[in-house]
Symmetry: D2
Subunit: 333 residues, 4 copies
């Protein structure tokens, strides 16, 4: 029973159906009608005109966003535990041509205006230091925490005041929105976000992410960067189809809810072990090696995180029976 990553989940049926429906010849690359319809689809969702590009991975989405916001000689402020810092093998540095990540602190991988300001103020404004040019946050965070619209807006104000482009890594944006029940616009452009990596792969898609530019002037050159990174798929309609299928009838939110619900059930079962509040679909639990071994012996798969800690991740397709079984096993420890 898989609780190690939503990365490994299956693809939901409407997505598969939409891909099958796209299986006729159409114009190549992103000239097909599905791809061309993305700007409108996201414009409708967010209530503002946007420029959207599909890519196949979150790493590509994040890195293209950062390249759009930060010159090679600039820096990106992010959390010390950010995915862009730890889990992309230096992709941001590759796409930006060597920008530096300035690492900030914060509980649960959440930045605050205070922690960002501390980083900014420590960087002398001269040619010897890499000057920050962008701010990147992850929502939901790498520890399953969720920024509220107000928290994002506070960072957005700071970003604007300091001349920083503002990026949100939304690999689990659906989980955040499902948790908050808010208008996606309030969590993004109304809070100052310039570019969003809107993830679908972890949430019922196969391999599709939307790079959403709220500040459309920031999109200059990004189509060229995508092509040059080998990310302009020649049959892009199959990617666009995935995204449209998940946007339809707010399926993306429903899938986010499903994953979050499973996590909530597990959180209740392991309340005494929680290292971080559970707001999305990830749980970090205190657990001895013996306890972890006991769970594994019952067929549960998950990551050891740090000494005495494990990570559980639930997915949109997690069977109720598996969740119930794990909840029972956690209580029984």
């Amino acid at each position: 029973m898989r609780f190690f990553s939503d990365n490994a989940a299956s693809v939901c049926q409407p997505v598969l159906d939409a891909m099958a429906a796209a299986n006729r010849a159409d114009t190549a690359y992103d000239g097909d009608s599905l791809s061309r319809g993305l700007d409108d689809a996201f414009g409708g969702l967010f209530g503002t005109p946007v420029t959207v590009l599909w890519v196949a991975t979150g790493t590509a989405a994040n890195s293209l966003a950062l390249a759009a916001l930060c010159p090679p000689y600039g820096g990106v402020v992010c959390h010390r535990d950010a995915h862009i810092q730890n889990d992309e093998c230096g992709a941001p540095e590759f796409f930006t041509h060597g920008a530096k990540l300035h690492l900030a602190e914060g509980d649960g991988a959440k930045l605050t205006p205070g922690s960002v300001t501390a980083v900014l103020d420590a960087i002398a404004n001269d040619v010897h230091r890499v000057q920050p040019r962008a701010l990147s946050i992850t929502n939901a965070t790498e520890y399953g925490r969720v920024y509220t619209p107000d928290e994002v807006a506070a960072l957005g104000s700071l970003a604007r005041a300091r001349g920083l482009g503002f990026h949100m890594d939304g690999a689990r944006f659906a989980n955040a929105v499902a948790h908050l029940g808010c208008d996606p616009a309030d969590l993004t452009w109304r809070a100052g976000v310039d570019v969003l990596s809107f993830g679908f792969t972890k949430n019922g898609g196969m391999s599709a992410e939307a790079l959403v530019f709220f500040d459309r002037t920031r999109a200059e050159g990004v189509a060229e960067r995508r092509k040059r990174a080998g990310h302009l798929l020649s049959k892009g309609r199959y990617l666009a189809a995935q995204i449209h299928a998940l946007l339809a009838d707010d399926l993306w939110i429903a899938n986010g809810h499903a994953a979050n619900r499973a996590a909530t059930t597990l959180a209740e079962a392991a309340a005494g072990r929680l290292i971080h509040p559970v707001e999305a679909n990830e749980l970090f639990l205190r657990m001895t090696p013996d306890e972890a071994a006991a769970l594994r012996a019952q067929g549960f798969e998950f990551y050891d995180w740090a000494a005495g800690e494990i990570r559980l991740v639930t997915s949109w397709d997690q069977p109720d029976a598996e969740v119930a079984a794990l909840a029972a096993a956690l209580r029984a420890l």
Copy 2:
């Protein structure tokens, strides 16, 4: 009726079936059994141990291959009309961190030992000139020509003698092998090829290419480069599934034959107009603007290539009726 690119073709049913069959949770990235089975599958096909990585696009495959063969301060000899020079928005320069493409001549986008030697000998061996470190050819070429095993071997000998890594862009490798009826090994590693971009996307796949390292020592660091380029898809099993489906029962060759056959039919119908011999699935025809307009008026879609020239590309899924219709229309001009 689409004759503008095999890039836009549909996905063949066995590929769709294999993707559907892969739709259960499995380990993420390339740790799943399908991905882990690629080395063996290609090792069997080529009769030699190989290291294989999937990627989603030919541009990514080519660029990763060149980055593996050429340092940032080196150069890659290729044809003036090579896809890597003209159609990838500088992806080779991006992935290699600024290597230079040294452009060579040759009919039908085919290099010869003579044309490559002319480029090599014109580059003084000092620190001021970018020193060639790799040779890249495309088979079938951008003009639908096919290198024979002997022709590849002659270039392979030259590459080895001059200390160049040898890459083959096989976006249409299937069409070349189908045309030649040869052992794929004779067209590649036995002829000195170090790395092959083995294309499946144009040949019935959705978005899947195999980067095949015959010289496995050249693969050092390529997994990291793939990850860092955002090309390590989290649900890689769907890519691997496509490739396995096309390798099974030599479906890839059958699909290549189908496309080539359509091209041959058209070539016979337009024999007097051919600019290049038709050996794969592309035709370049002399044609006046009025003639081109007349074809388009009948519903045929294709590219204008140069003044007085058009390009036709046939696909694995080209309906016989469309081919017959276009052949008739060409004869009728």
Copy 3:
């Protein structure tokens, strides 16, 4: 007797004196008064406000200029025989992060609006092709030819019409101005040049070039790029001192004249052998290997250029006796 390169010449006395005079502690980097005085010094020379940075080499000057004009995914149109293409080991690609050089034709390494247009028009305006973003010419050229103000202006108009930044590699700008006797402003910003690499090293300096931005908005980020390339010397005052010394009393033009005069003398002696008109301080001569050997036997050093061709370069410090001796030897062949 050295006729192989002005690169190897000595440093003129006023430069050495100025460097010695700078040998007192002052603020580091480019904060010293000599460095801070460069904008004004060049502003006076060119009759327009400019932003100027010193660097130690022409390669650095050219590459920083191109990085300022061209994004990583763009292209630079230059002559096939340009120094930036052939003699900098890929420095433009390094500094621009992988921009492509689009090679154009022209006698004597001189571009024309026609030859540039031919290159531009062959590049389809889509995301697959690297789009030109800059034009770079060398004046005097790599073959010792000189663009007139009108010729530069014609290219400047084209650049503006096509949206290209316009760079002039002026490693031998002094030789060009000395030849033309024109106002430096007419040869540069009044003719549409955005950035000039103004060379002093070949013209009596030790290691000093000025990167002159006529379009000051183009200078954004260039100080950071210089620092990050290791070109912000900590004792920059010694570089600035060289430049001020050569600007004073138009010493740079006098030195240019001296080198040109020597070349003219040699050109008269070898008139029948000239491959290119001699307009600056370089001569390209038809010469058999035996003749070349005979000259070398008399102590003259120079480069073999191509089969049956040699290159001679004269310097600001070329002794009259050496020039006379070589002239006599050439006549005697």
Copy 4:
């Protein structure tokens, strides 16, 4: 009275004399006899064969060294306060094409096997994390501390055990050697250092650093990287001359002693204020803003470092009277 940086010091007379003596035409770039003599000169000094390249700045030396040791997808472990992290505007990232600096802790900017191991062990060995490939230390450190041969050797053993190339930033190597009185070989290659940035600019030179490869196989490609970074000066003999002049009669050590001696005098005068032990030519003192203002009012120039802290740097050419005056002023506070 300048105590803000040894970067701003004057050039010592033997260096100026050597540069003047080099002022005759010779072969360009690094083909002259002075440049070609560097391998032997340093080979003699270190008692082992070495490959040496001059460059004009420490930033270039460090960055070329790191590019030689670390691929674009690798990482460099260094101290959080290292010059390569904080003071080079991302030059290491530029030259390495985006490698990541992994930041480690340690008093006085000194790493220990423990602090390095802590960083290494926190990085999971998978393709998602940037894998460390090099270790870089600064000796003397950015806080004026000195690693002993044993301390370097302990780090060298760790580097070898973990497969890391080992670089020493020796911008103030002279100060370290002068302090230790040790054989330079014991502080470098005998302790496992693969590449040394040997600084001369801060120590009586004008702009000259030697990049010394003890592991000569690591030097592959570095000449090309230097050229491509615009650091192959055409009149390299003036750089080589500086280095030879400082190596002669151990002038570099004498200059290091002179600077250290001045620092020692100041340290005795301000013993109660020292934040770090004074082992080289830098002092970090606790000081209120009022005290700092009082010193400045007496004509002493220095940097404010952090709240309540100042930095003093002494130079080889610091007049005794200035040192005595500052010592007195410090005592009088």
